[in-house]
Symmetry: none
Subunit: 191 residues, 2 copies
Amino acid sequence: MNPVQVKKRICNGRKKIEIKRIEKEENRQVCFSKRRKGLFKKASELSTLCGAEVAVVVFSLTGKPYCFGHPSVDHVLRRFLSNISGPSDTLSPASTNCSELINDDQLVQKPFWWDVDLHSLEDDELREYEKFLLEQQNVVTQAVQQCCFQAPEAAMEQIDTLPHTNSDVGEADYFMWLQQEIMDLPDIDPI
Amino acid sequence: MNPVQVKKRICNGRKKIEIKRIEKEENRQVCFSKRRKGLFKKASELSTLCGAEVAVVVFSLTGKPYCFGHPSVDHVLRRFLSNISGPSDTLSPASTNCSELINDDQLVQKPFWWDVDLHSLEDDELREYEKFLLEQQNVVTQAVQQCCFQAPEAAMEQIDTLPHTNSDVGEADYFMWLQQEIMDLPDIDPI
DNA sequence: GACGCTATGATTAGTAA
DNA sequence: CTTACTAATCATAGCGT
């Protein structure tokens, strides 16, 4: 090994990585390939060591799909989807093989689709989510309080002036529903 | 630190791992918890660094589901399932144009995945959602108040005793994040 | 594109609290 | 069920091939 090579080797090694988008196209490509491989390996080890069922699905920026699963991607996704409820239930045929889960009411706590895995959120997304919760809650509590301590008609007006959510999807429907709720409930316990 | 402790510490450290099922129940449990966390972190890094879409679904031996996804589990799984099930799929049309969304950063204001289309919810689901918001909000506001008016340490303890969400998925991660948030923010305006 | 290399940072097994 | 700790092992960035 000559001195030049030694010097180069010294400059090698992983720098402390900053977790943000890699701008350089080629580096990003290489990093994706390596880390995808590493991710699949980790998933494999987890399933082997702990007897867990794992499925991983990855889409590259170019839209190419990669997947890993134990005992199979299909098996795990079917099991998972059978637990999920919500508007996306066009996937229901996939749940046919999960009778043991569906029939066992004791064991299965069926999480609603809005039961968020907060670990998956980036920091800014978490802050946005907190903000979202605050606003939504503000709307609900104020509306209920209005209903309890004032005339329902006043509550109606109040709702329209409340700070809304950051969602443009279904917002109108939400408030329509909320107003209906307040009208329908004769007695609401103050919060 | 007494000599006994020192001796024990010397025996610490990771042994060369053999990738096979961990027989000892407790060790397997701990290992699962740690490696699941690590797996999700890796997945998160992959999506951030390389702009990839990633979904990870894990079932523990006890049947408890955990999931991670960016931009969301649902999004990635829909895309995946629509890809493998062919053009005449049973999925909603909304899932077919993912690549367009991704490539058009300027035009598309990508809605956060929690921006719920409330109109699509059944009545009981709406009530559940309201309950979910109330509980989540309760946790957040009380925690923030604790942080503002008491010592952060007291807030930490308080958080553990707060009513949790109805979600078993990611609950622990949420509180982990919340605690981290409170520790990181030097100044929080009281609500 | 993929693979080999290697210093370095990241992960984690075993354990105790 | 978590969390902290430490040393041993692993993963990988930036190279070259």
